[in-house]
Symmetry: C2
Subunit: 493 residues, 2 copies
């Protein structure tokens, strides 16, 4: 059969080069069984005319398809679907729907899906005023060098790093760089057996909770605190005790007498941005010794300390090995990378490593090796330098606009970071406010999800400046102030 | 200070271009504080002479370092460390070791690290006869097109797919391809809400076990069976019942009366390669209805059916939604990719999705998008076609060598696959045999870890042909036969 030229068409808005699009049309036709071995393809001239593209593009696509056995060339007779072409296996059984008869809710009790999460539209990039937290900014990310490093990590020399099943191991290049260059900045000296790579800080927190908690054990969390930690702890089968923070973070004197694991964000408290002073850190460590608990330190965002020199980590004060440290590249590189790490004594890391191997084995090798190159070539530090400068400028604009419109900052942090923790007047429900502002193109993050369920106030919200262009900040803040004013009261000055 | 040219040296065996190595030396010097703002760099001529490389290489490296703010150029005066150069923060607290004082074993009970795993040296590539299972073969992998697809996925158009925090979502391009092109080959029709991407099949099994099992629930596993599944089930807080398989896989009539979840590998039983016949599949589904259990189908390696057309999946016979289906790209692409998927009714997928979000959020975006391109451009099918042809040839050589040396095949599978399940004479401990063979450059996989602990025989082993070059097979098999003969008995013919 001669394949009719009319069966080919370019899809408007399709991505990829024209050559790739032709390749895709042909391979899909063959794999779906529509084109069969021996079928004659349209001539390259005919197909080019039909699609209104250059003949060389079609010829290159055909040549490529010959190389991968989809087509064969028979000299002047033209191109044919190869008898060796890949096929999708034919099945004797008709395809059926994934039936819905069985009631899974009966088994699962909807255990996992019932938790609250930060609400954010998926298409947040289309909003003009996205005061949202934790996504990469295309104008600050060093895309070109990331690409170059990724390409290098795809080379023949790195074939094993790309393709191997590492089981419970990690890329030694990345581990070495973290040990030699990242941890020393946080005052931490560690050996290879004391570090484990994770699928982001989320995964690190989850692993730590699973290893350290269990039935009858008590976890202390900050209130307000990191929302996702709540879901993680509900899985870890223990009791969760929220402790209210003040403007210096978690007060050690407020800890319950019986605690097994204390989760804390001393560098920048999430979400209030408070930094825990040295005296309080020492008191926390003293309490850990006296009452025999361990501490999980989530050191997210320490890289974004642009106002003052970052304070060293809590872990750097820990002589006994009671602190498990968590770092992440989500804020300093990008969250879609899914790369973080745990640091702790070998007896802890060994367990976390074995658990990680059961749950997911290891972060993909290519991701690890690309990060190792990007770090070791200095691109990472150069980029953070640029991000800090941009954040410093945006923060100044934020402060001015917030002051001008009389909004109230509840927590801003002394070191930098990427957000302000805000308080609206008591009567304002920021969940409703956020929905009304969204209609005007403004995205804010309602604060209720950061609090423990009982007695959660509804009038807090977070404004991040990591994804909003500097020039949009003043108008965005004005719209927020107008939105609050429209609730019937003046914003508290 | 003028930076002495002698402080630079090329490390023998370093990877990366000379330009990258210079960049790395300079950035590490600056970040470590050894080079300080205002320090004058050696002239490009001087450094080039010192290192014995071309001057243009040094100039290009310097220019690049100026662009990223590490150096500044002051015209004829030369290059200086920039006052804007990235710095590693200085800490007032001396770095301390990750203390070992606290006893984590007391908390963890070494719960996770005590499980048996398949033993395999990390440097298996250096052995001449690696009959090991499940690693990518550089001679078969389509590295060039993978690279091209990865590069495309690193482009500006795909910035969001690369960098975004997807939370509990997946790349819609990859999901669509799986729905339209992969699942129909297994006889499965599914909607987007019925598929979830996972960090490989390991992660898919883990998620399914967590969602479906719990205290008081009973899991049935094949004996022998997939080793890693045992670790996964020990975490899921239920009872595990091993059921002995025969040469047609799991016999439904041998199932215990009370079962909640049955884990099964019907296409190629792991490790015996048995394929479950249609009548037995129907009996298994009938039993699931009668006794009210669900089935988790691990459909690993279905792509490698080169002897006969692959049988459709068990899931394709499931009208009620009682089968949860697991697919993986580890064997057909490479295991370091860490990409697999779960298919099941929406009420199940919703829970698995929420759990995955808590544990790790999502597989890295770049990995998902690269796979989507590689699949949709037809490279995947072309490569599998080549792999199947190579495996078929290797398998023939294996069969001939095994017959010639009188080794005993315990399970080889009728559809293909990538390994033989072997039985040594009863007195042979294949764990000890593997150690002795390793000293001769031969890697085999002792079979004991595939069996339930009680009564595990020691005389089975697995020989895979997915990573050994065809020409090495005959000598490798001969060495195995000699190794068995040296245990004092002739191999059983």
């Amino acid at each position: 059969m001669a394949v009719p030229v009319e069966s080919f068409f370019l899809t408007p808005g399709a991505t990829g080069t024209l050559q790739q699009q032709i390749r895709q049309m042909v391979t899909e036709g063959i794999l779906s069984g529509r084109l069969r071995p021996g079928d004659r393809m349209p001539s390259s001239r005919g197909l080019a005319n039909h699609l209104g593209i250059s003949r060389i593009t079609v010829t290159l696509a055909y040549t490529d398809l010959v190389a991968s056995d989809y087509l064969t060339s028979r000299g002047r007779s033209g191109y044919f679907v190869s008898s060796e072409a890949p096929t999708a296996p034919e099945l004797e059984v008709p395809a059926r729907g994934a039936g819905q008869g069985y009631d899974y809710d009966r088994i699962t009790g909807r255990r996992w899906s019932r938790l609250a999460r930060v609400a954010r539209p998926e298409d947040w990039q289309r909003y003009p005023y996205p005061f949202i937290y934790g996504q990469a900014d295309a104008t600050l990310f060093d895309h070109q060098n990331w690409r170059a490093c990724a390409l290098r990590a795809l080379g023949k020399r790195d074939f094993e790093a790309l393709t191997s099943d590492y089981y419970d191991s990690d890329d030694p290049l990345l581990i070495e760089y973290i040990l030699r260059n990242i941890l020393p900045r946080r005052g931490i000296a560690a050996r290879p057996g004391e570090v484990l790579l994770t699928l982001g800080a989320q995964n690190a927190l989850w692993l730590a909770a699973q290893v350290l908690l269990g039935p009858g054990r008590r976890a202390v969390v900050e209130n307000p605190g990191y929302t996702s930690l709540r879901g993680i702890l509900e899985q870890a089968d223990g009791t969760v005790v929220p402790v209210d923070v003040d403007d210096a973070g978690l007060p050690p004197e407020a800890l319950p007498q019986a605690a097994d694991v204390v989760f804390v964000t001393p560098s920048h408290h999430c979400p209030t941005n408070a930094t825990m002073p040295l005296a309080r850190r020492q008191a926390l460590l003293a309490a850990a010794r006296e009452r025999d608990f361990v501490i999980v330190e989530d050191d997210y965002e320490f890289e974004m300390s642009f106002l003052r020199t970052v304070s060293p980590s809590l872990k750097s004060l820990d002589a006994e090995g009671r602190v498990i440290y968590i770092g992440s590249f989500s804020k300093s590189l990008f969250p879609g990378l899914r790369l973080g790490y745990l640091v702790g004594p070998e007896s802890f890391i060994r367990e976390a490593r074995a658990l990680r191997a059961d749950v997911l084995r290891h972060p993909p090798g290519h991701v690890q090796r690309t990060a190792a190159y990007f770090l070791s070539l200095g691109h990472y530090d150069a980029m953070i330098n640029r991000m800090k400068a941009a954040y410093r400028r945006r923060r100044t604009v934020m402060e001015e606009a917030i002051a001008e419109h009389g909004l109230t900052v509840a927590g801003q942090g002394g070191f930098g970071g990427s957000s302000f923790w805000m308080r609206a007047p008591d009567h304002v429900d920021t969940g409703e406010l956020a929905l009304r502002l969204r209609a005007k193109g403004v995205l804010i993050e309602p604060g209720q999800v950061f609090f423990a369920r009982e007695g959660a106030p509804r009038n807090y919200y977070r404004l991040a400046y990591s994804s909003i262009p500097q020039g949009r900040i003043p108008d965005g803040i004005r719209l927020i102030a107008e939105g609050i004013a429209a609730t019937g009261h003046k914003p508290v000055a």
